[in-house]
Amino acid sequence: MSGNGNTQAFTPGEMMTIAASRALKGEDVCFVGIGAPSAACNVARLTHAPDITLIYESGTIGTAPDVLPLSIGDGELCDTAVTTVPVPEMFRYWLQGGRVSIGFLGAAQLDRFGNINTTVIGDYAHPKTRLPGGGGAPEIASSAGEIYITMAQSKRGMVDKIDFYTSFGHGEGGDHRQRLGITTAGPTLLITDLAIWKPDPVTKEFTVVSLHPGVTRQQVADTCGWTVRFAEELAETPAPTELELKTLRDLQARTKAAHAAAN
C-alpha cells in the first residue's frame, strides 16, 4: 500500500500508531518503548505535539530522531537529544524522580487489567518460551504518571490470565494499585489495531470506547482472549488524516532507507 494521495486506504497497524500518537500532548514527557510506541511518539512530535519530550531508556532525553531507531540506543537518538545521561541517572533522577508523565509500553501478553507479561510463556523456572524480560518496564509501570499500552490484537496476546506479571497494571482491578502503595495512575489507555480502550473508573477493566473505522464489535471480541466489555456510548475513531498518514509513511520510508544505507 503506497501512501501518496490515497489517504482513505490505511492498514490497521497504521491506524493503531496514529490513534496512539493522538493521545500524546505537547507538554508530555514520554518514556518511549521501541517498536509501535516509538513510531507513535514520533508521529505525535511531527504533527500536533512538536514540543513533546521523548526519553529513551538509553539515557537520551528530549530526542527528535529524523528516522526511527532500530534499538533504544541508536546513535540518532543521542545526536538529536537535548542531553544524554548515564543509565543509572536515567532510572534514578528521571524515571524514579517522577519526571515522566507517560510511559508507553508494548506487551507480549496483556490481561484486561493492563498487567503485562514480556518475561516467559509457561512456568518461569521451566519456560515454554523465554521472552526478553522486563528491561525498564517494571519501574516504568509504577513510576510514570500514566501508562499507555499499544499492541495488535490476538487471542494469544490478549489473554484471560498472563503467565507472569512482568509489570503491574491494575492487578486484580479496583484499588489494587493503591493497596500496594503505588501512587501513579497506571494503565489509562490501550490502543490496539482495532479499537481504543480505557479502564472502567471503578473496576479498572479495559473497556472498548472507540472502534477504528470499519471495525465491528465481533472482530474485537474474536481477537481477544477475555470477554470484551464495550462502553455504552461507543465512538468511531476518526480515520487518519492525510497529514498523519503522510507523516507516518514518510517516517517509515526514511527509516527504511537509512537502515539500508548504513549497510
Binding site: 540506543g73 546513535g75 537518538l77 548515564p86 518460551t129 523465554r130 524480560g133 528491561g135
Partner: protein
C-alpha cells in the same frame, strides 16, 4: 595504572575460568572484540553480568562457556529474542544456564552501588512485579524516616569488566562519549577492568572538563582494537550495523549454522578483523 597490551594478553591476564564478568555496553560501544577473544581462549563456567545481554552473550552461551547469567533484558535489540540463550534456558543446550533476573532499574542501581562501594542499593522498584518473587537477591529495606518499603538489591562487583571506548590518551586515561550506559559504573565496580579503544591520542588536554573520562589508575589493561564494537557502533566513528543484528536472528536459530558461523567468524578470526568489518559503516558516522 592502565597498561597498553595486545587484546589476547589483556583477556588472558584478566579473565579466569569461573569468574564473574561484565561485558557492558548499552546498545552502544559493545565490547564484541573482547568477547570474541574470550571465546577463542575458551573460558568455562563464567557468570556473565549485563543489563542487556545481546549477540555476544548469545555467542558465549551457545559456546557453552556460561554457568550463570545476571541480566535485565535478554533480547536482540530491535529484532527479537536471543535464540542461543533461549535454547540454554528452555532446553539446557549446550548446558544448563542459571539465571538471576532483574529490571533495568535494579541492575543500574546495583552497578551504581558497586561503583560507590556500598553493599546494596535501595530504590522504588518491583512494585507488584513478579521478579521480586522469583529472584532471591531482590529484598527490601524500610526508610527510617517515612516507613516506606523500598526494593533492595546487592551491589554488583564483577571480578572483571570489559568495555569498549572511543579513545585513550598515552597515559591510559579513557574517554567514553555518546550513550555512556553503565560503563563507568561497570569499570568502577569491578576488581579489574579491561578497555578496548578505537584509537590512542596524545593527550586529552582539549577535552571539555565534564566528559566521561576514566582515569588511567581505574583501569587494568587497554587494547587498541579499531572497530571492536561491531556490529554495535562507536559514536563519532562508525554507525550501527543493523543488518548484522537482523541476520543474527537466523544464524542463531539453528545450532549447526551457529557453530559454523562461530568457527568462521570468531574462532578463525582475529581482533584485527574488526577494522574491516566497520569500514563501510564509517562514512555514515
Amino acid at each position: 595504572m592502565a597498561m597498553f597490551m595486545p587484546l589476547a594478553q589483556a583477556v588472558s591476564e584478566n579473565l579466569k575460568n569461573g569468574d564473574s564478568a561484565a561485558f557492558e555496553g548499552f546498545t552502544h560501544l559493545i565490547p564484541t572484540a573482547a568477547a570474541h577473544e574470550a571465546i577463542r581462549q575458551g573460558f568455562r563456567d563464567l557468570t556473565l553480568i549485563r543489563m542487556t545481554p545481546d549477540l555476544i552473550y548469545d555467542q558465549m552461551i551457545g559456546m557453552g562457556m556460561v554457568r550463570k547469567m545476571v541480566f535485565s533484558y535478554v533480547g536482540n535489540p530491535g529484532v527479537g529474542l536471543l535464540r542461543r540463550a533461549r535454547d540454554a534456558i528452555e532446553n539446557g543446550y549446550p548446558r544448563d544456564l542459571e539465571i538471576e533476573e532483574h529490571s533495568h532499574a535494579g541492575m543500574a542501581n546495583a552497578y551504581e552501588a558497586g561503583a560507590a562501594g556500598l553493599p546494596f542499593a535501595a530504590f522504588r522498584g518491583y512494585l507488584g512485579a513478579e521478579l521480586a518473587r522469583v529472584t532471591p537477591t531482590i529484598k527490601s529495606v524500610t526508610c527510617p524516616f517515612t516507613g516506606e518499603v523500598l526494593a533492595a538489591v546487592p551491589a554488583l562487583r564483577p571480578d572483571v569488566s570489559f568495555i569498549h571506548a572511543q579513545k585513550a590518551d598515552r597515559k591510559g586515561n579513557v574517554l567514553v562519549e555518546g550513550i555512556v550506559g553503565v560503563q563507568k559504573e561497570a569499570v568502577l565496580a569491578a576488581k579489574r577492568a579491561v578497555v578496548t579503544v578505537e584509537e590512542v591520542v596524545d593527550d586529552f588536554d582539549d577535552l571539555h572538563p565534564n566528559l566521561c573520562v576514566l582515569p588511567s589508575w581505574t583501569i587494568t589493561a587497554i587494547a587498541v582494537v579499531p572497530g571492536g564494537a561491531h556490529p554495535s557502533y562507536a559514536h563519532g566513528h562508525y554507525v550501527r550495523d543493523n543488518a548484522a543484528y537482523v541476520a543474527w536472528d537466523e544464524i542463531a536459530a539453528d545450532r549447526e549454522r551457529f557453530a559454523a558461523w562461530m568457527q568462521e567468524n570468531v574462532i578463525e578470526a582475529t581482533p584485527e578483523d574488526f577494522a574491516g568489518r566497520v569500514k563501510h559503516l564509517r562514512k555514515a558516522a
